[in-house]
Amino acid sequence: MARPRGKFLQAVLVLVVAFLIFEYGVRPPMPFSLLSLYMAITLLAVLVYVSSDSESWRAFKAPIWATLTEPGRRRRRLGLGVLLPLLVGYYAYSQATAKTEAPVELRAIHPAPPTSIAFRGKTIDLQATDTPVRKEIAQNPANRAKHLQAGGAVYIRNCVYCHGDNLDGKGHFGHGLNPAPADFTDSGTIAQLSEGFLFWRIAKGGPGLPKESTPWNSAMPAWEDRLTEEQIWQVIYYLYETTGYPPRVMDHAAVPPAPGPARVASLFGRGTDVLQPREAGAQPADLARGKSLYEAKCALCHGVSGKGDGPAAELLLPRPRDFTAGKYKIRTTASGQLPTDDDLTRVIREGMPGTSMPAWGSVIKDAKEMQALVAYVKSFAEGFKGARPELTKLPPEVKSSDASVKRGQEMFEAIECHKCHGAAGRGDPAPGSDLKDDWGTPVRPANLTKPWTFRGGPERKDVAARLGTGLMGTPMPTFIDSVEKPEDIWHLANYVRSLAPDRPSWAALLQVRAASGEVPSDPNHDFWRRIPGANFPLVGQVIADPRNFNPTADLITVRAVHTPGEVVFHLTWDDPTPSEPAKGAPKPDMIALQFPAGGLAERPYFLMGDGAKPVYLLTWTPGAGAGEATAAGIGKLTPQSGEAVQVKGQAVYDAGQYRVVLRRALRTPNQADFQFPPGEFFPIAFWAWDGSEGEEGARAAVSSWYYVRLEAPPSARQFVIPPIAVLGAVLVELGLVRWARRRGRGTV
């Protein structure tokens, strides 16, 4: 009896193990369609195996047969008879209520390159074995430093926003782009490509991609107008030298890529001569080690002399730290005191959210290396010699509670945090505030509703520490002795952290719900509070001139509904300063929703399309109100006028935030307009301009393309289909048992 049962169990076990392997053992996770295909093959294989001879087939069938017919197994039969229909019913329910997801876009990541390209009136052979830069270095090794230094400067001034200081595709605009920027440290990117391929991609960018690589999505600019041929070869050299991967070489035996650890080590081993070394006298050995680390990476922003004046500095806001002043924002020490070594280590290891300072912890893993780097950074400021910084003692932690948050809010008002951070904490200072750092650069107060941009981290203890120590070099003072009771520091931190979640949840799809009845135009109407918002990231437009490295808007929250005749969008975004030309602002704020112009045939390029495929925009500007426009390329906006403008809008500006409702008929007589198709996925992108920061035209915040769909009205499907499925399953079961019994009587 044991053996036949074993056969069935074996089969079940094989199927379960196979499922677990497919579901959890494979990275990246496989799509459901592939998983079901593999499971079907496995099931087939198992069936073939168990039915290979009649003995084994009988052994396999025996437990099933027994459950179906034997009188002694009545209880089990009943149990399964209830359980199986319930499972079927659950599956039917989950299918009927399935959430809509954005369709998956398939794209060729490494399309076949052309053999040569035209570049500024010259033909570049992409299959040449040696680049001009490598030839020069082969002739004279002394040229290496020059090219590496130039390549680093090109990288840090152009590529870093998306591809990141660590070359890992995690630049501070990286999260807002789809497809994500390439991670050069991944063995699947430049390690698999030739230098000619890279030249093609850099020179021709996203717009130069073949169709199968979705050129309309790519944020990779065509650099041919901005960089010279030599600069491109130099930055390619920098990429390979810094990551430690050798380029793929045509017509040669494939060179295996360097293994991971060697690469990480080489990141610093090789980069030491990226910039001209600082003139320095004799230094202790560990300082020399720190110096080489510093000059390999930090100097590109912070400068060789530590003054915060590296090649990238002028493009960054906040500016890179000037180490010679000894003024540090993120400390555990009292106001006026230098930071501790641990403070400096933490900032280097974890980076500073919301700034260009990345987390170096994954690169500098060795504690001694980190110590050496910290020692070198300290050597820029005289004050560190023999300094013993006095720590700020925070009162004992107070856990967050309703009472604590309430007390924190009282204190927030009593100590007038709103003067800089705004009444709702959105970083909108009182009008006329002229906030500057100690170097005279205008600075923005933190938006307390975006803790993921807090320079010193989003935890409650981080916020309490910043309140306790202040941010040296900025207008943010210490409040350690300036609250009514010491524990108020914690109440304040608890209040600040009660304003927003740790990080936003980003959407990929905007679901436009069907609404019945009147849709209000008032953006503050309760109606809009009941609709969940979809958050989309906005990043600086860094491709066309004038570029925008520090956009004000970094997130837009969109709610949308449709009625049989109309689509209504509700937009929310933060802007610390409302600018309306009629009220004296030199440039207006503006927001825009972007759709393909006309039909859905093919997608335009995400930066306002081009001559062949223009875009259609719904806009809103304070004063001027709602508008419609078409554009055939960035900055080439043609506003519609007169009767062509059908969109209507209403807006409020409140405590650092715009809320705008835009409504338009689903279909219009104008051919250039986008006609909203119910039930279909169609693309949408977003633009925002902050007039008071000089944003206008190409100088804007922009998003990638996302999907929208006008959903069908809610149906009763999920209440009808599952009971039918359960009933069907029960009937099938009853039929099966009856058939088995009749057959059992006949044969046995």
Binding site: L435, M472, E484
Partner: protein, 231 residues
């Protein structure tokens, strides 16, 4: 016409003399009186429209980094005897924030503690720019009427309030006998030991100038400085 400040100094020295110590020797000294004048055209005061905290700050602020009185007298200049030690003041020096201004605009103090008042009932912050002393940035909310800060090293320290961008002041920390010029540019230094001294005038914006002055016991030495207004 001795000013209140100089009378205070006399009273102070008299008190110190009663208490004993080094003061009696100084009491036999002379005094230096004089004027600081501006030549050239000083920059016109900036007028700033106030658009917050109007109840405390008023509606308009006149900001004069170079404050000139009748007869081109320069106010807020610090005159000190650079080769003598100053006496310890009986009272802690005080810097007030009133009407959203630093009062006085220039504080002259020996190394040590400074009492900082907030008479306005709105949030101020003391943001200092120093090199010898720690640069601090401390909030002083409306309920914090007074706080004390230490400035141990001689230095001219610029101070500002980030909450009110027009607020500007200086703390002059000096170990020497020093006096601040009044609204007419006049100053008076008492109890300077007899002999030849180097006397220096320092204005935070117009810079320094020094002159040699001979002081005779019980007599007034006169000196006039002229600082050129930079354009």
């Amino acid at each position: 016409m001795p000013s209140i400040a100089s009378m205070l100094v006399v009273a102070l020295v008299a008190t110190a003399a009663l208490l004993g110590g080094a003061a009696p020797a100084a009491a036999q000294g002379g005094s230096i009186v004089g004027e600081v004048k501006v030549t050239g055209t000083p920059p016109a005061p900036k007028v700033i429209k106030v658009n917050k905290d109007n109840q405390a700050c008023g509606d308009e602020k006149k900001i004069a980094e170079v404050m000139v009185g009748p007869g081109n007298g320069l106010a807020n200049a610090v005159v000190s005897v650079t080769d003598a030690k100053g006496a310890k003041p009986a009272k802690k020096p005080v810097l007030d924030q009133k009407g959203c201004e630093f009062r006085p605009m220039v504080v002259v103090m020996p190394p040590g503690e400074l009492e900082i008042l907030n008479s306005d009932g709105v949030l101020h912050n003391i943001h200092t720019f120093s090199t010898a002393n720690p640069s601090i940035n401390k909030a002083q909310p409306k309920f914090k009427k007074s706080m004390t800060e230490k400035f141990d090293k001689p230095e001219v320290i610029k101070i500002q309030c980030d909450a009110h961008s027009w607020m500007l002041g200086w703390i002059v920390v000096t170990e020497n006998p020093a006096a601040l010029t009044d609204g007419k540019g006049a100053f008076r230094l008492e109890n300077v030991p007899p002999g030849k001294h180097k006397v220096e005038v320092l204005h935070p914006v117009l810079g320094k100038q020094s002159k040699e002055v001979e002081v005779k016991a019980g007599q007034e030495a006169k000196v006039t400085f002229e600082l050129a207004a930079k354009r």
